[in-house]
Symmetry: C2
Subunit: 529 residues, 2 copies
């Protein structure tokens, strides 16, 4: 452990009753152990001396930055209602038809030179558009630390955040921290191909862990690891798990507290990919959950509190030895962050200095100013609106399916033999009313896991011979299941053929209804019903 | 060469008389050869079918992007004069004191939904803040291709550009394209430590090539490569050269056409790091150069033409087989691009998909809209203003040195025995007027290469025992030479101790004068004169 590994002693309030992160430096790969801080870094301390004239840094003068001010018009935090109607009131073409009529956009302007440049919360273009430390402007981590502390509630004291240029970049940096050529890596049996594209070039062997509707099965994970014979396999035991705990991509599975606890107890580095963490549903149906769901529909501080309370604990909340990463990102702006132990933060900072450096100053300046204008409570209200919007869209899809198929809730399903329910859809025969007594009516056309709000998708089975080519002909496009195959034995979903991921996040109400009508027609025709 | 290596057949006008790029795929490393396109990529073609309802992509609806509009106030293209006065007319504190009084800022607003979304030049937030292809929005490459074609004039037909999140990111991606652990890499004997931080963790052996005031010495490069014994060295012959041809960091050396031609003729992959390409001076003093310099001071199309004509040819202009990269970046916005052959563009695109993805939509939207508003000619005028500003700042530094030291132009210097001139400074004795006949007056206090406008720095020798600690005490900060040492034998600069890089890009006129006054006092005291 050389000097470059030293942890910056930046003052930050931490809950001193919590344990510190454990030293996991033995898991770092050769590339990462080799990283050094810049040889000129020691100059930085002289730069802030009062009266110092610096001719040390070859950096442009802010006067030559062409941008004098940046302004943005942003939606109000309550732009999206907490309890939108089941069917859009006036199904207009306008995308804003369910906005509160009283909602007003607000705006802000970022100057080149702010009046208070010494304040760490200050955002000004002369700083944001200048070269910056890889850790970015102080103002954004300031906000994120409050957000992580209050929402993710890490269970160890010395965690920190490091901003990055989005979830894929964060994951690429994590892979470059641990992976050696030929390593094995643990993934869910169906997983996000974008994440695989990052580690597969390392000739990484995917070790697929079986799932149910709550995601990873701890028993299978345990048996894979305990049965790992390094000599026989010709490679070391996998040390990294890539998982999407909330609204898993593609299955839509969401892990609850108990499941996370079971997985956490198995000794591995858990990398949580959590873009949807705050947008997920409370899956467990209980009186407490129902009360929280009702409370979430109310405006104000109590509603905000209910929203946070309803979140399942993050892996960070179990983490007493810093074995986890969590990340999220603002949509499309290529800005996200990693929360982890000081050791990994420091090594990731070195990797960031040698690659992306700080995220774009345009992205950090605009996003931070917006967050500051909204404040913590405002941002929580914003997230609640988005969550309610996804819930509304999920309802559009489920209602459309119910109108086009006769649905039955299965207690014993081939897809999920235990622990969770699936829904099977049959061809509509006479009436569209639900009739519990009608029983089986011909072959099952579709089977699916009830989607959560989060994932923006439902993953279902359409029948083994329904090929994607057909779906293009009929002007509705689903993502084929085989594209998400992690290459192992499957507990669910067979070989992926005949399985599709349906995303409800982008289609309009009319499009969703029209798509499900077409879907039902094509299936009925295919099965010659 | 599998299907993933196929080159996209996107229509682009190319000069058909030029040769095509040579296939250099045998230089790609193991990681890069392993990269595959996303398994779901074939779905993209269905998405643009007329009437297609897509439920394939799990992407958020633009309605939930909080940004409704972005606006910017930008400087006019002629904000900086082409021939500023030698001494600022009114040395005010205001940073804008030499702006044309008639110059006016302009502004633009980017809407969430533009009226012409099908036009490839359209920028709208619903697209910019959405997930994008790794190649980014169409509009920016459209502008860059025109710019590269007209300014860099590549000498092969099928070059293309790929945007990235800044020069360090571009260089990191290039390293990850070619380097295996333990490879040797060619660098200038003094080089940019930020670039080294990217390749040193690969346990890369730096092979330092000797320099003069025009940069790399082709003879030394040639002899290193021809004398490379793979068996004896225990590693393969280096295949990649990292070079900063214009305003070399830290020496300030700028390569002219003849030198580039000599280096190009040696068979290696040349990675040009060219942030200053358009801001460099025409070094060679000739009647033609003088005429161009005069013409550059004039406004209008002829001045723009003279500016482009005065640029030394890029390595791209010699490149008949695609062995080069060129890159540049907009200051601080973390946005740059690589120009190279279709093969490398394709592999770099795969690497980008698995790491950074497209640069931030905030950066591309704002930068592209600004460039579109300025147009090609306007952007050239903007660059000319920046170039004139750096020249003005260089003059501040040189005039300050001339006022504090007695300077002599050396024809035979230990620093640069041939081909270039250095300047030696002696303690000022009686008068501040330049007197060619006064000859040697005590020990030489400083020696330096006349800086070019580009680099924003002069690299000089202060005497072997002048330590950086002293410079902090005296409130002037220079970058110490040893920080830039590439670890080989040196043609210039000894071991780097006593050598410093002085940057003229950020200090004000008053600060520059004050810094040189302090500098002279400290040296005089140190040498007990």
């Amino acid at each position: 452990m050389d000097a470059a590994f030293a942890i910056p002693t930046e003052a930050r309030e931490t809950a001193t009753s919590l344990p510190m992160a454990k030293d996991l430096s033995h898991h770092l790969n050769r590339l990462t152990r080799n990283r050094q801080a810049s040889s000129l870094k020691e100059l930085y301390k002289y730069m802030s001396y009062p009266g110092m004239i610096t001719m040390a840094g070859g950096i442009p003068h802010p006067q030559v930055f062409p941008f004098e001010t940046l302004s943005a018009s942003i939606l109000p935090v309550d732009a999206f209602p907490l309890d939108p109607p089941r069917i859009p009131a006036k199904p207009k073409k306008s995308l804003m038809s369910w906005l509160f009529p009283t909602s007003q956009n607000s705006s802000f302007t970022i100057p080149k030179y702010a009046s208070d440049p010494k304040n760490p919360a200050t955002i000004q273009l002369s700083t944001s558009l200048q070269y910056q430390a890889a850790t970015g402007p102080l103002a954004l981590p300031l906000f994120l630390r409050e957000y992580v502390a209050k929402v993710y509630k890490p269970a160890y004291a010395d965690w920190d955040v490091l901003i990055n240029v989005g979830a894929t970049d964060g994951w690429a940096k994590i892979c470059s921290l641990f992976l050696e050529f030929g390593d094995a890596i643990l993934v869910e049996e169906w997983t996000y191909p974008g994440a695989e594209n990052t580690f597969l070039p390392y000739e990484a062997e995917r070790v697929a862990i079986k799932m149910d509707a709550q995601g990873l099965l701890p028993d299978h994970l345990e048996s894979v690891l305990s049965g790992w014979d390094e000599e026989k396999r010709g490679k070391r035991r996998p040390r990294v798990l890539y998982t999407i705990p909330t609204g898993q991509n593609p299955t839509g599975a969401t892990m609850m507290a108990e499941r996370k606890k079971q997985i956490y107890d198995i000794y591995i580095i858990i990398c949580e990919d959590e873009p949807y963490y705050c947008l997920g549903a409370t899956y467990e149906k209980s009186i407490v959950a129902q009360r929280l769901e009702d409370a979430e529909k109310e405006e104000g501080a109590e509603g905000n509190e209910a929203f946070i309370k309803a979140l399942p604990p993050s892996f960070l909340a179990f983490d007493t030895d810093g074995r986890t990463f969590s990340k999220t990102s603002a949509p499309g702006s290529r800005l996200g962050w990693i929360t982890t132990s000081p050791l990994f933060i420091e090594r990731l900072t070195r990797a960031t200095e040698a690659s992306t450096q700080a995220p774009s100053g345009f992205a950090t300046a605009l996003t931070t100013t917006m967050l500051q204008q909204w404040g913590f409570e405002g941002y929580i209200r914003w997230l609640r609106g988005i969550k309610a919007t996804y819930k509304m869209r999920k309802t559009w899809l489920c209602d459309s399916l119910a109108d086009e198929f006769d649905l039955e809730f299965d207690t014993h399903s081939a897809l999920f033999p235990e622990k969770s329910r699936t829904i099977t859809g049959y061809a509509k025969r006479a009436s569209s009313a639900w009739d519990e007594k009608r029983g089986l009516k011909g072959p099952a056309l579709i089977t699916f896991i009830p989607p959560t709000e989060a994932v923006g998708s439902a993953c279902g089975r359409l029948g083994e011979f329904f090929e994607p080519g057909d779906s293009a002909d009929i002007q509705v496009l689903f993502a084929p299941g085989w594209g998400f195959d992690a290459g192992g034995d499957h507990a669910i979903g067979g070989n992926g053929f005949g399985y599709y991921r349906l995303a409800f996040s982008i289609a309009t109400y009319e499009e969703t209804r029209s798509a499900m009508k077409t879907f039902s027609k094509v299936l009925t025709k295919f099965f010659r019903l």
